[in-house]
């Protein structure tokens, strides 16, 4: 049996504005260490909402959330920020970088915040991550000067910098051509297989989902299908 890294117990969430609306309905599932999990479902079914909860940014929900064997459902904001910094890497649906900083700085900032490595080691590491994503030549450009796909790849590099336990992506390959998508897929595969990191990625790309270890399918805020081929 594989080790559980993330678990939800009956997570339910409502939006009250403009009308009372149950966006997530009794979501319960487990994610294992080293698993490459994808989440699919129609637009508006609640994938992003779920991912924000899993990433600890959204704390307004009912039910329990366990990360790395700790029930973090009612933790304080500061403690959650520390968890995000150290254990979770996040790639947003719409690539979000700090526009006034270089790509390199954008990648370095989470590691500088963590403060576990000396500055030059972090810098070296950030270069490596950028190289992995084919962006070494863009390192010193301000991130606002990059194309959408390039920015998305910088965001992926940033998510990797602290070697997090879990990497969450909201359509991390949404803006990429098939070659880059393929590249990222193999990076994710390698991270899970070689380094035991866990990937949870929302995607609309059927091939991407099929090739992952397991796919959760959502509809109207519920899980309608979990494929347990991984265990």
């Amino acid at each position: 049996m594989k080790e559980i890294i993330l678990k939800t117990e009956s997570i339910t969430k409502h939006f009250h504005d403009p009308v009372e609306f149950k966006v997530l309905d009794e979501i319960s599932f487990e994610v294992y260490k080293g698993e490459f999990l994808t989440v699919i479902g129609k637009s508006g079914c609640g994938k992003s909402t779920l991912l924000y909860i899993l990433s600890t940014m959204d704390t307004e929900f009912d039910g329990e959330l366990f990360i790395d064997n700790q029930n973090i459902s009612r933790w304080k904001q500061d403690k959650l920020a520390a968890i995000r910094n150290e254990k979770i890497g996040f790639v947003f649906q719409f690539h979000y970088l700090l526009g006034e900083f270089t790509c390199l700085k954008n990648v370095m900032i989470p590691a500088l915040r963590l403060g576990k490595l000396p500055y030059d080691v972090i810098e070296e590491k950030a270069y490596q991550k950028l190289e992995l994503l084919g962006l070494k030549d863009q390192a010193l450009k301000p991130s606002s000067k990059l194309s959408g796909g390039q920015q998305q790849r910088v965001a992926i590099a940033r998510a990797l910098i602290n070697d997090p336990l879990i990497i969450m992506g909201d359509e991390p390959t949404g803006n990429l051509d098939s070659m880059n998508t393929q590249n990222i897929f193999s990076i994710f595969k390698e991270l899970t297989q070689e380094f035991g990191q866990t990937i949870i990625a929302v995607t609309h790309d059927q091939d991407f989902a099929k090739a992952s270890d397991r796919t959760i399918e959502m509809q109207d805020g519920k899980i309608i299908n979990q494929n347990y081929k991984f265990i």
């Binding site: 520390a82 995000r84 700090l98 900032i109 963590l114 500055y119």
Partner: protein, 413 residues
């Protein structure tokens, strides 16, 4: 092994400042003007106070010790009795001299905070001019000591104070008296004291304090001569003048001397209550205006930082998503405010120093002389302190707002 943590919050703040130079400059300029005006106005206030107290101490001591009039007390003790008593309090007729003045003077001189002590005797006199008489007063002094206390040399315009000592019949006239009597140094003048003694004196000098009441009525004579004018012996003294080390402490110190000597001790501020009230008013107005200007500068930074927070709302959401907590966000924006404040304060202090230095050497003329402005360290320190306090607050309020931003609500937009 512990690693030296890179100040990432500071770096983010620095990057925001560098990439928004114009905004930074505008905010810093506001602080510069606020600080400069604050320091300048307070230096002016210090200058006014200094020049007016200097003017005071040309003729009055820090503390004057004298025997107060006594009011008669009812002979019958009426408390607890139902008998109506008619009382008519009056000033007790007794002379106003200090008993055994030498001993009292010695006692005062032994006090650690006392700098100078000198006796004084004031006599009411008439200056005789043909058939008319001008009333005035002669102040009997020990010339050397009085010169030390009041720096008389600085306002003697003709002759020399020290000649008083060598000339028992000498008199130092106020400029107004000299003009009315039409006398100058070396001339003779006749005076009559309030007890009817008439003497002919030799004018050894003329002084001008620019206080017209003093200049038109007062003359200085030797204290021994004043005693002769009163037909009294050499222990007849009405006032003992005391200067202490710090004249600002006179008000607090006077009661101690009163208790020590058993005479009334009046500090210079109480002696000039009306003038001091006007001075306090001036101080309040200047402080109020200068602090208002600092606050206006503070509002400037507040506005600009508020705008920055609004512009950077996406950045803040990202920073929070990647693990920065509320305190980190506050530090980022407060550092930004403090860097702006620091730039503003450095230039503000520079500006104020230049203004003070230039005005200090500006000759206004008249009684004032040089523009009364005074380079006082505490005003600069106050300016720097208030400058930082205002910028800190102006940064903290928007920063706290930024810290409470919910990243998810930003990402959903």
């Amino acid at each position: 092994m512990s690693v030296k943590k890179h100040p990432v919050n500071g770096e983010v703040a620095y990057t925001y400042i560098v990439s928004n130079k114009k905004l930074t400059m505008v905010a810093a300029l506001g602080v510069t003007l606020g600080i400069a005006v604050f320091i300048f106005m307070n230096s002016m206030l210090a200058g006014f106070d200094k020049s007016s107290s200097e003017a005071f101490f040309k003729s009055i001591p820090h503390i004057r010790i004298y025997k107060d009039d006594e009011i008669s007390k009812p002979i019958v003790n009426q408390s607890g009795k139902n008998i109506p008593v008619i009382v008519n309090p009056k000033v007790v007729p007794s002379n106003n001299t200090i008993v055994n003045p030498k001993q009292v003077i010695q006692l005062l001189k032994n006090q650690p905070d006392v700098a100078l002590v000198t006796p004084q005797l004031t006599v009411g006199i008439f200056y005789n001019n043909a058939k008319t008489q001008i009333s005035g007063r002669a102040i009997g002094i020990l010339p050397e000591e009085a010169n030390q206390m009041f720096n008389m040399e600085s306002y003697v315009v003709e002759g020399n104070v020290n000649n008083l000592k060598n000339n028992i019949n000498g008199i130092l006239l106020g400029s107004g008296v000299a003009a009315k009597m039409n006398v100058r140094e070396g001339d003779n003048i006749s005076i009559t004291s309030s007890v009817g003694m008439t003497k002919v004196m030799k004018v050894i000098g003329v002084f001008q304090t620019n206080n017209s009441v003093v200049d038109k009525t007062t003359a200085y004579v030797n204290i021994a001569f004043a005693q002769q004018l009163m037909k009294k012996n050499s222990s007849y003294i009405t006032d003992i003048n005391v200067n202490i080390k710090d004249y600002n402490k006179a008000k607090a110190y006077a009661p101690e001397l009163a208790q020590l000597t058993n005479y009334k001790a009046e500090d210079w501020e109480s002696a000039n209550e009306t003038y001091m009230a006007a001075t306090r008013m001036r101080a309040i107005i200047i402080r109020f205006v200068s602090i208002s200007i600092l606050l206006v500068a503070g509002f400037g930074i507040y506005n600009i930082l508020n705008m920055t927070v609004m512009q950077k709302i996406n950045d803040i959401a990202i920073l929070k998503a990647i693990g920065f907590n509320g305190r980190d966000v506050i530090r980022i924006f407060v550092s930004q405010a403090l860097i702006i404040g620091l730039i503003g304060i450095v230039f503000g202090v520079l500006f104020a120093s230049i203004m003070v230095a230039v005005l200090q050497n500006y000759y206004v003329g008249g009684d004032i002389g040089y523009f009364p402005i005074y380079f006082k360290l505490s005003n600069f320190l106050k300016g720097i302190f208030f400058g930082f306090a205002v910028t800190f607050l102006a940064g903290f309020i928007p920063a706290r707002k930024a810290a409470n931003i919910d990243p998810v609500s930003i990402f959903r937009k």
